[in-house]
């Protein structure tokens, strides 16, 4: 862990001069982020508490824009496979074979090429982009890594579709942005895994975004995902809905960010339904940032391995062991310490979560059996380090969204 932390700092220091100025213009750009965090969580599977120190969300983003702004290459290297191979301690987290630990992302988190404003002047007020590669499907909200709260939301697999082989088109006219894409339905099973290319096109999604005023976005998304949890394709299909509103703008001396979202995923022809409501907000006042998140999200319970943090993968069948509804309140404080003329942002932070986990509708794996308790508590403290992250909204391609109002992006 420490070696990765050191390497990240060295990387940031060595390449800094090339970055920020070129970020939104032509030429190459890059950015990086990492969080060193100590987390205490109670309960964990089997009961009791656990404290761990990890480096999470270590990533390097590389990009290049050329051809008069019509072509963009974009990649994100995520090193969580090295820093958290067993996941990040987070009660309620789930997905990709992990439970109560947030899974590590794949090493090649994004690798996209975008043709931007393809119609040029001929399009008049209409701008069209085409993007393809490995990345996010046009669905839901921004990746939690580019949001202010260190703790991942439980609804990560209800509100985003990521790390797929995806091809998408974006059309923007005035305040209306429509994106549609096709991709492979299978989720990754380990950090070194690539999408199952032969399944490309078996799933689809679309997102309609309205931008009525600067800094405000309203969106609705829909997706049909084939067999996300069974890579060969024998699993149940997921029908997904998402609606959200996002704001990021100055309010007097403060910079305000807020996200409200609702998501629903149904599986097995509606037999299972998982819902989520999430509201989060952050206010920057000078160097201080305070933030809060309310989340109520459902988690499907799968059969665990002997390691209670891991579920059997591949699945052996299509049943689940129950649904747990997590209702969590997370609040935190950060303080920005600019380094190197503000190019690097250091943010010490303290963050806490309180809430409940309750069984919804029966089943054989309830919180009482799993944890011995329905109360969830978590406390985290650490240091968030970012370089060149301003304005980067992970999972958005084609340059059809407006640039952020400030370089003090919430993800920083």
């Amino acid at each position: 862990m420490k070696s990765w932390f050191r390497r990240a700092l060295v990387l940031v220091a060595a390449a800094a001069p090339a970055a920020l100025a070129a970020q939104m213009g032509l030429g190459p750009w890059w950015a990086a982020q990492a969080i060193a965090v100590v987390t205490w969580a109670d309960p964990i599977p089997g009961g009791g508490g656990l404290t761990e120190a990890r480096v999470v969300q270590p990533m390097v983003m590389l990009g290049w824009r050329g051809l008069a702004g019509h072509l963009q290459l974009q990649g994100t290297i995520d090193l969580e496979g090295a820093t958290i191979p067993d996941g990040e301690l987070a009660p309620g987290a789930w997905g990709e074979g992990f439970y109560d630990r947030r899974h590590p992302h794949t090493t090649v988190h994004e690798l996209m090429v975008s043709g931007m404003d393809l119609l040029g002047r001929a399009g008049g007020p209409v701008r069209v982009s085409l993007s393809a590669g490995k990345g996010f499907a046009p669905f839901g909200s921004d990746d939690p890594m580019s949001r202010p709260i260190a703790r991942y939301p439980i609804n990560h697999h209800l509100a985003q579709i990521l790390e797929r082989a995806v091809a998408l088109v974006g059309i923007r006219t005035g305040p209306v942005l429509l994106e549609a894409g096709v991709f492979n339905g299978d989720e990754p099973e380990r950090p070194g895994q690539w999408p199952r290319w032969q399944r490309f096109g078996d799933s689809w999604s679309g997102r309609l975004t309205l931008l009525p005023v600067r800094g405000l976005e309203l969106s609705v998304s829909r997706a049909g995902v084939h067999s996300p949890e069974h890579r060969p394709g024998a699993g149940t299909d997921a029908e997904k809905w998402h609606a959200g509103g996002r704001i990021e703008r100055a309010a007097g001396p403060a910079m305000v960010y807020a996200l409200a979202e609702w998501a629903r995923t149904t599986e097995a022809d509606g037999r299972f339904q998982f819902r989520s409501v999430l509201v989060e907000a952050a206010v920057d006042l000078g160097r201080k940032r305070i933030y809060y998140r309310f989340e109520q999200s459902d988690r499907p319970e799968d059969q665990r391995e002997l390691d209670p943090f891991r579920s059997v993968r591949p699945n052996l069948e299509n049943s689940i062991l129950g649904i747990t509804r997590f209702t969590l309140h997370t609040a935190g404080l950060q303080y920005l310490i600019p380094v190197w003329h503000g190019r690097i942002g250091l943010r010490p932070f303290l963050e806490g979560t309180l809430g409940t986990a309750r069984n919804d509708g029966g089943g054989v794996l309830t919180p009482e059996i799993l944890y011995g308790s329905e109360q969830v508590r978590q406390l985290s403290g650490g240091l968030r380090i970012g370089y060149g992250m301003a304005g980067h909204r992970m999972g958005r391609y084609g340059g059809l969204l407006p640039q952020p109002a400030s370089h003090s992006h919430p993800g920083m």
Partner: protein, 485 residues
């Protein structure tokens, strides 16, 4: 995208099966296009024996298709006992004639006919079932509170049940039950096996000497097959273990050519049917005879082996039929030869039973269990399909049964009495009459009885008939002894 609902599948299956089999269980058919006799109401009722049923009604039409009044319809009980009254009735102004049946005193299907000589469609047949006293709880239940119960086998006065998943305690225990003079089970011992998370299947060899169980959801070295020697009933002594890193979902013992084999289902990601030779188990050796890969469409869930024929239930692939020593295609345990593949509507083929009817000598039907998505402990889904396997190279689905609100799991068939007992998860246990020809939709006429032994705590995994009692393993409420209908 796959957007086929279960209801649509069932409808499609029933329509297809009904069409293939000439199913005549329609209760509200359209009027005949030309003069004739057709059923109008009352078919396929299910009630206790000696019950007076709702009236049977037929519709009489003239040659031009219009209702025909004042036609005398004759009614008769053909089989199943009971009575029909009146023996003849006259059609009214809209062509309807009716009579009321009383079921016989003996449980079973009562057949009644309505006839009008010279009319097309005559006679019309009505079938209704008279139910007997049903299942009864004789013993057991509530006896494995710390773990979820999985598979069950009973032999020589002892029962052996596996455990599953995590209920606070991990499913790494094999429970040993002694049956008392009336057959009620009492826990006498347990074998706990480190390194496995679920005892996925249990069986005792036909000669009572070997106890085999399979393990999964554990460590790579713990998962696999375990063989114990029963020096005396209920007293297993460990002899051999062979690891299968991914775990074995099920295992089936079969004696072929004088040797004992275990046909097992190796779990994904590279699923296969692994055949183990247990001949050397007494010396601590288990030998892998063969590994037959199947597509990673989940994989194999269960196997049935009889007379050198192996049926492997390969989820969305359907049923694979192998010669593993029958002689028809030169197959052996070391080199299975596939004879045929049988698909079922909706896939998710899970388990089965090859029905050797002891009354007729027929080996005609294969019962196939389908396991569709559910919430373990609460809900389940899936049908029973019936395939005609008279020609093993050309099997065909001919019938289906769907229990409302539940899905099936493991089977046992009383081949003398022609009764299929099906574990039905949240619906408990269902008994089906599988006598005679099986065609079309078997619900509700073939449904003899059902029981949820644990009431709200019922999620039944398996069933086994032994000494006249039906023993069941219930994931929530343990091991039960039931009286059968």
């Amino acid at each position: 995208m796959r957007r086929i609902t279960r209801g649509a599948l069932r409808y499609l299956a029933v329509v297809l099966l009904g069409g293939l089999a000439g199913c005549d269980n329609t209760s509200e058919p359209a009027p005949p296009p030309q003069g004739g006799l057709s059923a109008a109401a009352g078919d396929a009722q299910v009630a206790a024996t000696a019950t007076t049923l709702q009236p049977y009604r037929v519709r009489v039409a003239a040659a031009d298709g219009q209702p025909e009044a004042d036609v005398t319809v004759s009614w008769a009980v053909v089989s199943g006992g009971g009575s029909i009254d009146p023996a003849s009735s006259v059609s009214d102004g809209v062509g309807i004639a009716e009579a009321t049946a009383v079921l016989g005193d003996v449980p079973g299907i009562q057949v009644v006919t309505a006839s009008v000589p010279g009319h097309a469609g005559s006679p019309v047949t009505f079938r209704s079932r008279g139910l007997g006293p049903g299942f009864s709880v004789l013993g057991g239940g509530g006896n494995v509170p710390e773990r979820y119960t999985s598979d069950l086998w009973v032999a020589d006065g002892y029962g052996y049940s596996g455990t599953w998943g995590n209920r606070g305690a991990v499913g790494n225990a094999l429970k040993i039950w002694q049956l008392d003079l009336v057959g009620a089970p009492s826990l006498v011992d347990s074998i706990v096996t480190p390194g496995i998370g679920t005892v996925s299947d249990v069986q005792v060899s036909e000669d009572g000497r070997w106890l085999m169980f399979t393990g999964e959801r554990g460590t790579p070295s713990g998962n696999g097959i375990y063989v114990y020697e029963l020096l005396a009933p209920g007293q297993p002594v460990f002899r051999a273990h062979l690891a299968a890193a991914e775990g074995l979902h099920t295992g089936t013992l079969a004696e072929i050519g004088g040797s004992l084999y275990a046909f097992t289902a190796k779990n994904p990601p590279s699923p296969s049917m692994i055949v183990y030779d247990l001949s050397g188990a007494s010396g601590g050796t288990i030998t892998q005879e063969s590994s037959t890969p199947v597509p990673a469409n989940y994989g194999i869930h269960d196997t049935v082996v009889r007379d050198g024929i192996c049926f492997a239930f390969v989820w969305n692939e359907g049923v694979y039929i192998y010669d593993v020593g029958n002689g028809t295609a030169g197959g052996s345990p070391a080199a299975p030869v596939q004879l045929a593949t049988l698909s079922i509507p909706g896939g998710q083929a899970h388990n089965g039973w090859w029905f050797w009817n002891q009354l007729t000598g027929e080996h005609r039907y294969l019962f196939i269990g389908q396991e569709m998505p559910g919430t373990v402990g609460v809900s389940s889904a899936g049908l029973i399909y019936v395939a005609d396997v008279s020609d093993l190279r050309h099997p065909a689905v001919v019938a289906s049964f769907s229990e409302p609100g539940a899905g099936t799991h493991n089977f046992w068939v009383d081949e003398q009495r022609e009764v299929l007992y099906a574990a039905y998860y949240n619906a408990g246990v269902v008994a089906l009459d599988v006598s005679g020809a099986l065609t079309g939709d078997l619900y509700p006429l073939r449904r003899m009885a059902t029981i949820r032994p644990g009431a709200a705590s019922t999620y039944t995994w398996g069933v086994m008939l032994y000494n006249g009692s039906l023993y069941t393993s219930d994931m929530l409420s343990g091991v039960w002894q039931l009286g059968v209908p």
